[in-house]
């Protein structure tokens, strides 16, 4: 069972988890799952590194805002809705008081999408080399596949 101690890697205490995410939100649930899991890992004192790749670099675009929904649909979808960046910002801040969250966006992906200069405070614009350092230094690596 999960509590059984062994001599392999799994017996060591996990201190650092790297998550690789390459999908944006508003069309996908994967970023939501990453945020949910990040919150729970931070609560347990585990350091989390999120490497945001491809469309995931738009998750931390600081220019996301709430908007009004079309009047004829408000009865069924409400007046407005939360945006994903707000929750990432709050998890970064939560990381100040629990364990540390590093959120790194790939510079190449950010530049080609025009969002390099639009990243929210606390997010690091990094390189592909950072990805492999994260992977090399992590006790656990979780790679979320890019599929629809």
């Amino acid at each position: 069972m999960l509590t059984e101690e062994t001599e392999d890697r799994s017996s060591r205490k996990v201190r650092k988890v790297t998550m690789i995410l390459s999908t944006g939100s508003y069309m996908r649930e994967a970023p939501t799952t990453v945020l949910r899991l990040t919150e729970k890992l931070l609560e347990r004192g585990i350091e989390v590194n999120v490497w945001a790749f491809e469309e995931a670099v738009t998750l931390t675009n600081r220019d996301q805002i709430e908007h009004s929904e079309p009047p004829s649909l408000r009865k069924v979808i409400g007046d407005k809705h939360a945006y994903v960046g707000k929750f990432i910002d709050q998890l970064l801040r939560a990381g100040l008081h629990t364990s540390k969250l590093d959120w790194v966006t790939c510079i190449l992906c950010a530049q080609e999408r025009g969002v390099e200069k639009h990243q929210m405070n606390g997010v690091i614009v990094g390189t592909l080399g950072d990805l492999w350092k994260f992977v090399g230094n992590a006790d656990q690596v979780i790679a979320i596949p890019a599929y629809r």
Partner: protein
Amino acid sequence: MSRYLVVGSRDITEYAGGESLFDLAESLGKNRGDVLLFLVENGVLSARENSRTARRIPDLQSAGVRILADDVSCRSRGIDHLPEGIRLSGMDELADAIALGFDNIYWY
């Protein structure tokens, strides 16, 4: 004993080779691994009783694979009853399991 986390996050019915995810979990279990299969997002559609993919559950159990289904994902999709062999779980239990460490994590 090696420990493995296999995460199913999509409806494997839609993929020609989708059930290879369950094949992987079953093989790891048969090779004496301690395997946790965690279903989340559309992966929980396999957790609906009488679904085509749920028929694999007894084999997975026989191979020693533990199967958990994410509570938020199940509720969202109107799944309020799970077949024998799958237990309702959530992010807390997944984080606890990761905190203990796996030899490998395979997220599909």
